[in-house]
C-alpha cells in the first residue's frame, strides 16, 4: 500500500473572478519508507502540495479535482476532524524557517509537553522523558537543559533539530519537509539533512522533500518530481532523472547551476521567468514553451501528455528525445583580465562594538572584525565568503562608509577613505558603490524606476535636467537588459530579478571603479541567478569595474570570481585564487564550507551526508560560527 498517492490533483486559485489551476494534473506515488523530492523554483507550486495534503490552503485556493490518498484513505473526502487528527500524529511537517516557526513565548519543554499530551501521553514525567529522548536522538547536547530554553536562545540549526525531533516524535508515517535547510547556514546543511535521513530510515517514514536544489535532491531522494508552473514536468528515480534529464526545463536548470568542481563554463540562461498565476490564464499549450530552446508549434497547441521514456521515468514533453542536445553556450565570459595595479587596499581593518553597559554595568567589547587585510585590483572580481556572524557585512559597511572602522586603513586609488567624512563621502559617491542584498528594502517604493537608476544625478549640488536623466535611464536600462518602458514602473510592479537589475543599474550610474555586491543573488531562483551572473560578467567586460562579491554560495563564487577571501569569526582565515583554494583548502572552516556543497554529479557520493560524524558544537570552526547572543 502506498504511503501517499496523488492522481491528477488540481488545485484552483480564484484570481480576478476566474479560477486558475495553480497545480494541474499532479500525480505521484510515494512508497512507504521512501523519500520523494519535489523540485522546482519559486512559484512552481511545490509548497502548495504540502498545504494541499494538510488541507490548509490559503484563502482563494481549493482542491477542485483529482484524488489524494494517504495509506488508502481518501484525504479529500475525510471529515475535517478526522483530518486534523492525522496532522502532527501520522502526518508531520518540518518547516522552512525554523526560528520563526517556534512560539517565542513557549519553552522547548512546553512545546513538547503540549504536543505529546495531544498524542495521548498522559503522564507528565513520561512526556518529559520522551522529549529528552527525542532531543537526544536529534543530536542536541544537554537535552534536559534545552527543555527550559526559549527559541531566541537557540541557533537556527538547533531550532530546526527541535522541530525535526518534534515531527518524528509521533512515529509518523509521512513527513513533509519544506526546504528545511534553505534558511540555515551552509555548514549546518549536511548535519540536518543527515539527521532527517537517519530518522527517516529509523522510523521507516515516507518523506516528501521539497527543495529548489537539484543536486541536493539527487543525493537525498529516492524519487524525484520536477515541477514547473504547477505541473509535474518530469518524474522518476532521482539519480536517473538528474543524470539524464528528459525534459528541457530540467536540463536547462542543470546547466544554469554553476558548478563547484567541473571545468568552468558559461551558464545556460533561460529568458524571462516562470509564468505567474495571472499569466497562466493567457497561456495555452505547454507552459514552458515561451522559454524552451526546443519549442515547436505543436508545443503551443496543447499541454503535452505524460509519456514514459524509461520504466518509472515519466516526462511531459513532446520533444523529450532531443533534450540532451541542449547545451550551455561556449566560451567563458568570466575570464578576467585583472590588472596588476591594486585599486582597493585594506590594511588591518578592525571593528569593535560595545554591548551592554549603562548605569550599573560596564560595556563589553565584541570584535566583529579583527585585522582584515586584503586588496582588490582594477577589474578584478574578488569573493568574500562566510556564514552569518562572520563579519563580512561589517566589512562591506566599513568600506562603504556606513560604519566607522575602529582601526586600520582603507585606501581607494591611493586616497585614504578610512574615516567617514564629507570629503570621503564625495570620493566614494563617484568611485565606490554598493548593490544591496534585499531587493524589497533596497528600492524606494515611491520612486519610479527612472528616478531610482539616475538617483546619483540628483545628489549634492549636481542639477541634471530631466532630459539628461531620461537619456541616462535609457542607457542604463539597456545595459542591464531591461526594456526602456520599465522607466515608468514602480518597484512594487517588478519581480525580484528585475529589482536586482535596477539595483545594479543604480550603482553603475556614475560608473564606479569598485562595486560591493552584498549577497545580491541569494534568495533568487537559479534561472534568475544565472541571468544576473551573466549580466555582471558582461558589464565588467563593457564598463570595466572591480567587485567585492559577498556570498555564502560557493558555486556562484567559483563561477564568477577569480580570488576568494574566507571569513570566520571576524578574521580572514584563508585567501587566494579561487581554483587553488577550492581545490586544496587549508583552513578547517574552508574545508567545511566546501564539503557542505552537494556534488554536481548525481551519481557521485556526497561525503558529508554519509559520514558518521559526531555532532558539532558551536564555536568549532568546522561547524560554522555561532550567531552572537544578545
Amino acid at each position: 500500500m502506498l504511503a501517499l498517492e496523488a492522481k491528477e490533483l488540481v488545485v484552483g486559485a480564484r484570481i480576478d473572478g476566474a479560477t486558475v489551476p495553480a497545480i494541474r494534473a499532479l500525480s505521484f506515488a510515494l512508497e512507504p519508507g521512501k523519500i520523494l523530492g519535489l523540485v522546482g523554483e519559486s512559484g512552481a507550486g511545490k509548497s502548495m502540495v504540502g498545504r494541499a495534503i494538510a488541507q490548509l490552503l490559503p484563502a482563494g485556493f481549493a482542491i477542485t479535482s483529482g484524488s489524494l490518498t494517504f495509506e488508502g484513505n481518501d484525504l479529500l473526502q475525510m471529515p475535517p476532524a478526522a483530518r486534523r487528527a492525522l496532522l502532527g500524529r501520522t502526518i508531520a511537517f518540518i518547516p522552512q524557517a525554523p526560528m520563526t516557526s517556534l512560539n517565542p513565548a513557549q519553552t522547548v519543554g512546553a512545546l513538547f509537553d503540549e504536543h505529546l499530551a495531544r498524542l495521548g501521553e498522559a503522564r507528565r514525567s513520561a512526556r518529559r522523558d520522551r522529549a529528552i529522548a527525542m532531543l537526544t536522538a536529534a543530536r542536541l547536547p544537554r537535552a534536559a537543559e534545552l527543555l527550559t530554553q526559549y527559541p531566541h536562545q537557540l541557533s537556527g540549526g538547533m531550532c530546526q533539530r527541535v522541530l525535526i525531533a518534534l515531527a518524528f516524535s509521533s512515529n509518523p508515517r509521512l513527513v513533509i519537509a519544506d526546504e528545511p535547510t534553505t534558511a540555515l547556514d551552509v555548514t549546518t546543511h549536511p548535519p540536518i539533512l543527515r539527521l532527517i535521513a537517519d530518522m527517516q530510515r529509523e522510523h521507516g517514514t515516507a518523506v516528501i522533500f521539497i527543495t529548489h536544489d537539484l543536486r541536493l535532491a539527487a543525493q537525498l531522494c529516492d524519487q524525484v518530481t520536477v515541477m514547473y508552473a504547477g505541473r509535474a514536468v518530469e518524474s522518476g528515480p532521482a539519480r536517473a532523472v538528474l543524470a539524464t534529464p528528459a525534459h528541457p526545463y530540467t536540463r536547462c536548470l542543470q546547466l544554469a547551476n554553476p558548478s563547484m568542481r567541473a571545468e568552468r563554463r558559461a551558464l545556460y540562461v533561460m529568458p524571462d521567468q516562470m509564468p505567474s498565476l495571472r499569466q497562466l490564464r493567457e497561456l495555452s499549450g505547454c507552459h514552458f514553451a515561451p522559454r524552451c530552446p526546443l519549442v515547436t508549434d505543436d508545443c503551443r497547441r496543447g499541454e503535452p501528455a505524460s509519456v514514459a521514456v524509461a520504466p518509472d521515468h515519466q516526462v511531459a514533453c513532446l520533444r523529450a528525445r532531443a533534450t540532451q542536445v541542449v547545451a550551455a553556450p561556449s566560451g567563458d565570459l568570466v575570464a578576467a583580465k585583472a590588472s596588476e595595479r591594486p585599486l582597493l587596499q585594506v590594511e588591518d581593518l578592525r571593528k569593535h562594538y560595545a554591548i551592554g553597559g549603562g548605569l550599573f554595568a560596564g560595556a563589553r567589547s565584541v570584535a566583529a572584525v579583527k585585522q582584515a587585510s586584503f586588496s582588490i585590483a582594477a577589474n578584478e572580481f574578488v569573493a568574500l565568503v562566510g556564514e552569518s556572524g562572520s563579519g563580512k557585512s561589517t566589512i562591506a559597511k566599513m568600506l562603504v562608509g556606513l560604519e566607522p572602522p575602529s582601526g586600520g586603513t582603507i585606501r581607494l586609488d591611493g586616497e585614504d577613505l578610512t574615516a567617514p567624512s564629507s570629503r570621503t563621502s564625495a570620493l566614494r559617491a563617484t568611485r565606490l558603490q554598493m548593490v544591496f542584498q534585499d531587493p524589497q528594502s533596497a528600492l524606494n517604493p515611491r520612486r519610479r524606476v527612472a528616478s531610482i537608476v539616475t538617483q546619483a544625478m540628483e545628489a549634492g549640488s549636481r542639477h541634471s535636467s530631466w532630459d539628461e536623466r531620461r537619456a541616462r535611464t535609457r542607457e542604463l536600462l539597456a545595459e542591464v537588459g531591461l526594456a526602456a518602458d520599465f522607466g515608468t514602473r514602480l518597484p512594487g510592479q517588478l519581480s525580484g530579478g528585475q529589482r536586482q537589475r535596477i539595483n545594479i543599474a543604480r550603482a553603475l550610474c556614475s560608473l564606479p571603479k569598485l562595486l560591493i555586491a552584498d549577497e545580491i543573488v541569494s534568495g533568487l531562483d537559479v534561472s534568475i541567478q544565472a541571468q544576473l551572473l551573466n549580466l555582471l560578467a558582461r558589464l565588467r567586460a563593457e564598463l570595466g569595474f572591480a567587485m567585492l562579491f559577498i556570498s555564502h554560495d560557493l558555486s556562484v563564487v567559483r563561477h564568477l570570481c577569480s580570488r576568494v577571501l574566507v571569513m570566520y569569526g571576524g578574521e580572514i582565515v584563508e585567501q587566494g585564487p579561487v581554483e587553488k583554494v577550492f581545490a586544496d583548502p587549508q583552513h578547517p572552516h574552508t574545508q567545511a564550507l566546501i564539503s557542505s556543497v552537494p556534488p554536481d554529479d548525481p551519481e557521485a557520493k556526497w561525503a558529508a551526508l554519509s559520514s558518521a560524524v559526531r555532532p558539532r558544537e558551536s564555536g568549532d570552526p568546522a561547524a560554522g560560527f555561532p550567531l552572537p547572543r544578545e
Binding site: V400, M434, N444, P445, A456, A459, C509
Partner: protein
Amino acid sequence: MAGPLARALRSPRVLVALAMVVGIALCAIFAGSIAPHDPGDQNLLAILSPPAWADGGDRTYLLGTDSLGRDVLSRLIYGARTAMLVALFASLCAMIIGAILAHIAGYFGGAVDWLIGRAVDVWMSFPPVILSLILMVGLGTGLSKVILAIVLVDWTRFCRVLRSEVLIVTRHDYVAAARLLGFTHWQTIVREILPATTPLLITLVSLEMAIAVVVEAILSFVGLGVGADQPAWGQMIADARQYVYQSPWNLLLPILAIFLAVTAFNLLGDGLRRTLDVRLAETGH
C-alpha cells in the same frame, strides 16, 4: 502620493468622515450666515425654553435657549467655529514641532536621539489633563492660549509615534543607498524618509484634531477655556449641568456636537490609516 490618495478617496469610511468634517467646517466658516441669532444675544424673557418640537417650544429658537436666553442652535454653530479653529491650528503646530524633532531623532540617532527621547519622556510623564490645566492657569484664558496649551502638551505624542516610524524607514537599504550616492542628510530626509512618513503624519493629524476638540471642551467645561465671550461646547455643557432637570436638551445637544466632531476625525484618521499604509501595498498586490 497620488496613488494612495486616490485609494483613500475610494474608501467609504474616508468619504463619510470627510463629508462630516467638511460639514462641520462649513458651519464654522459660515457661522455668521447660518446662525439664526447672535450667540451672545440674551433674551431674559425666554430662558431655558425647550427645542421647537417639544411643547413650550418656539420656532424662533429651534433648539431652545440656555439659562441666559441665548439661542442654543447659534451657540452650537459658533461653538463649531471655536472647536475647528482650535483643532486645526493646534494639530498642525503640534505636528510640525513633533515631526521635525522625530525625524532628527530617528534619522541621526545617537546622542541627539537620546536627548530628544529623554525630553519626550519627561514631558510625557505629566498626565496630559493635569498639564493642560496647569498651563492654562499659567497662560490665562483665550483661544490662542488654548491652542498653545494643546500644542505644548501634545507635540510629544507626535514625536514618539513618528520617531518609531522614522526608525523603521531609516533601516531600509534605500536610505543608505541614497547617502552612498552622495545625498546630503537634508536631501535624504526630505526625499527618502519624509515621503514614507507622510501617510502616518496625515493620519496622526486627523486623530489629533479629535483629541484637540475634546481638550478644548474639557478646558471650557472647567472654566479655563477660550473665555466666556466666545461660545464653546464645553461651556454650554457646564452651564446646562445646573439645569439638567429643567432642560435636558441643553445638555444633550452639545454632547452630541462633540461626539459628532470627534467621531468624524477619528473615522477619518482610521480610514486614512488603512488606505495610506503603503507598507501593505508594497509587500505585494
